[in-house]
């Protein structure tokens, strides 16, 4: 199956290992991957901050880069959700709106794609650890994806998933929120970190690098030695 990978800007700049793991997992599952060259960022930072015009500029770039793809896969619930927002950006421009719609429809978050499209729930990963999972808000509420990551993690050998108190509460990232509303964001991430600590997990897993960057950044600052992994890194650990 031919799939196009949208790496996402955070993974491209900071977390190349995550991107590599995504490639390797998908290849193992029989996908033929291409990396459209024109890809940059989904535009969410501008969109969520009220800079619609600049978001449209980014959206056009993504649409043009990905419209020939069969499937578009992003290892981020949040960026995937942004792709799904694209049609709404072009209410005054029917031509672009149709193109945006076509792109939105074939875009999947990484775990969603594996479970719902490839129909795979066990990728053969082995990861002996006690872990807890952070459900990112955009995956949960915008994509309404509540199952795929759990199905995949449940089948990882040796991995024990511990419940996370108030897992539905936001970690306080929220893109520019994290830098615009520092005192509030701080309290939110602190509560999240407290709950993660209380879960007694050794490793925190999530499917969004934004949340992980925030939570890890805070745990590192506080000297809390809990490991942080993107779900692709877990799924690409074989033994």
């Amino acid at each position: 199956m031919k799939v196009s990978l949208f790496v996402t800007c955070l993974n491209e700049i900071f977390y190349q290992d995550v991107a590599k793991d995504v490639v390797e997992v998908l290849e193992r599952l029989g996908c033929e991957i291409d990396l459209p060259r024109g890809q940059t960022c989904c535009g969410q930072p501008a969109y969520n901050s009220g800079y619609r015009k600049d978001a449209i500029t980014a959206a056009k770039q993504m649409i043009t880069s990905f419209e020939d793809s069969e499937y578009i896969i992003a290892p981020s619930g949040s960026c995937t959700a942004m792709f799904k927002e694209y049609p709404g950006l072009f209410n005054e421009h029917k031509g672009w709106q149709e193109r945006a719609q076509a792109v939105a429809e074939k875009t999947y978050e990484f775990t969603q794609f594996i479970v719902d499209v490839l129909g795979v729930e066990d990728v053969g990963a082995v990861y002996p650890a006690q872990a807890t999972y952070h459900t990112s808000c955009h995956m949960l509420r915008l994509l309404k994806e509540t199952e795929a990551p759990f199905k995949l993690l449940e089948n990882v050998k040796g991995l024990e998933l511990l419940p996370l108190e108030n897992s539905y509460d936001c970690c306080g990232f929220g893109g520019t929120f994290a830098v615009k509303m520092v005192p509030i964001s701080e309290q939110m991430v602190d509560e999240k970190v407290r709950n993660i600590e209380q879960s007694s997990a050794d490793v925190l897993i999530a499917a969004d690098s934004g949340c992980l960057m925030n939570i890890k950044g805070r745990m590192d600052r506080k000297g809390i030695p809990i490991d942080v992994k993107h779900i692709a890194q877990i799924l690409n650990t074989l033994a």
């Binding site: 790496v7 509303m181 005192p183």
Partner: protein, 477 residues
């Protein structure tokens, strides 16, 4: 401005709130409680069936009503007047207060009782009535507590005194009302009840808000739990109801749906203890109904939203489900919003009613986690409305720093020009290198500063993913 709470700027209010540990614990445990009660009475209640269908029905009713607002307001007003009620349309807060003052003066009213109403908080009615010599008594327990505590302000639209615990309430009762008992809730309630009994009996005017007005019959519907609204509306000879102009339903059938949505979402009840429906016009010898019934229908900025992208904000039925799941409200509580309308819907409504100058920061005080949108029983896309506010806000040159605008411009150019984006990606490790210590950045300059104020900023990865991918693909061929 009566809608406004506190004088400090936004971040000052947030700081105050964050230091109030009691309040924050109270908010967090109240949220956890409310959230579960709501789920038990909605998604998890078998009697409900498909809760999503109920939400869609609610959304449809509210949309239809707002799209035909003129028609239903006419109908309501006609039916209310036909039965002998008096209707007054108030364009502004001042007009509403002047009208009510006039009625109070005509009746030579000394004592006024009130049941819980956010809209009378919005217009600052108590002060307006005091100006014309009335003694105003809040009779909803939570509002009563706030009133005797030096007119403290509401921190939650359904439970206005959520920020107070029973010990604080005991102290207030002792200091202000001669209470001598303990902090036992039953004892406190019994005391308030006995105080209020006397007041009910001597009231000249009873004032209520309005959960829904039913257009087809000219009826006001109130959903309450304490029964005080019934006392407020049966003893005095004159009743005044103040309603926001959007708070109506076409017929009793829609009322049924919305009362369900409201009770279940607000307090996790199948139905509130009382649903009181009041229509003007009584039989000659009726002794337990007011002789005169005034309905004040308030605009006060609501029509700013009509016909705009914000119209759905007027669909709100004030259940506070969005407030109860908001992670921002959880930590800063109600007063930090600086408005009597708090939480996510407060951040949407307050700027519509009171303008950006006063409430411009509120739409930014959200991580856009969409918990509000998910919780709303009438499916208002609250987090999307917050983004729309942000768009309008940043479009006014004077509102934002030039540096932010430039950064966003650069973002637009960078993301639409792949080779520039690649320069940024490739250059990041080099640019950031001097800042990195032990694998991360602890004290970043410029735009990184607020991030590193509380967290580590990651060092950019050393490899270039696209080069790796190229090699990797070659290897596979």
């Amino acid at each position: 401005m009566p809608m406004k709470i506190g004088e400090k700027p936004f971040f000052g209010r947030v700081d105050d709130a964050l230091q109030d540990h009691f309040m924050r614990n109270a908010m967090a445990s109240a949220q956890d409680r409310f959230r579960n009660k709501k789920l038990d009475a909605t998604e998890r209640d078998e009697q409900v069936g498909d809760w999503e269908e109920w939400r869609s029905a609610g959304e449809e009713i509210r949309r239809h009503t707002l799209e035909n607002l003129d028609f239903y307001l006419d109908q309501l007003s006609e039916n209310f007047s036909k039965r002998g009620g008096h209707v007054f349309f108030a364009k502004t807060v001042e007009e509403a207060n002047r009208y009510i003052q006039k009625v109070a003066k005509e009746k030579d009213a000394k004592y006024v009782t009130k049941s819980k109403s956010m809209v009378t908080e919005e217009i600052g009615l108590n002060e307006a009535l005091e100006e014309v010599g009335c003694h105003v008594y809040e009779t909803d327990l939570a509002e009563y507590i706030l009133q005797i505590d030096n007119k403290d302000r509401p921190s939650h639209i359904v439970v206005p005194s959520l920020h107070k615990n029973k010990e604080q309430i005991r102290d207030t009762f002792q200091a202000k009302a001669g209470y001598t008992g303990t902090e036992e809730p039953h004892e406190l309630t019994a005391f308030a009840r006995s105080q209020l009994r006397e007041v009910f009996l001597k009231a000249d005017i009873g004032i209520t808000g309005c959960n829904f007005a039913i257009a087809e019959s000219g009826t006001i519907s109130l959903a309450t739990n304490e029964g005080n609204a019934n006392m407020v509306t049966t003893y005095p000879d004159t009743q005044i109801t103040v309603m926001g102009m959007e708070r109506l339903v076409p017929t009793w059938e829609e009322l049924d749906v919305l009362i369900n949505l409201l009770s279940r979402s607000a307090v996790g009840q199948k139905i509130t203890t009382y649903v009181t429906n009041l229509t003007p016009g009584v039989e000659e010898d009726c002794v337990d109904a007011p002789k005169e019934f005034h309905l004040v229908i308030l605009d006060a900025g609501r029509s700013n939203a009509l016909g705009t992208e914000f119209q759905s904000a007027l669909h709100c039925i004030r259940c506070a489900a969005c407030v109860n799941v908001c992670p921002v409200y959880r930590h800063i509580g109600g007063h930090a919003y600086g408005s009597i309308y708090q939480g996510p819907i407060g951040a949407v409504l307050s700027p519509i009613l009171g303008g950006y100058e006063e409430y411009g920061e509120l739409p930014f005080a959200s991580s856009l986690c969409a918990a509000c949108t998910e919780a709303c029983p009438v499916k208002i896309p609250i987090h999307e409305l917050l983004i729309k506010h942000r768009e309008k806000y940043v479009n006014h040159q004077e509102n934002v720093k030039t540096s932010e605008k430039l950064a966003m411009k650069a973002f637009g150019v960078g993301t639409s020009t792949p080779f520039l984006f690649q320069i940024a990606v490739k250059g990041a490790p080099m640019f950031m290198k001097p800042l990195i210590k032990d694998g991360s950045i602890s004290n970043g300059p410029g735009p990184m500063k607020p991030w590193t104020a509380i967290r580590e900023f990651p060092a950019p990865g050393k490899d270039n993913f696209r080069s790796w991918f190229k090699e990797h693909q070659k290897g596979r061929q």
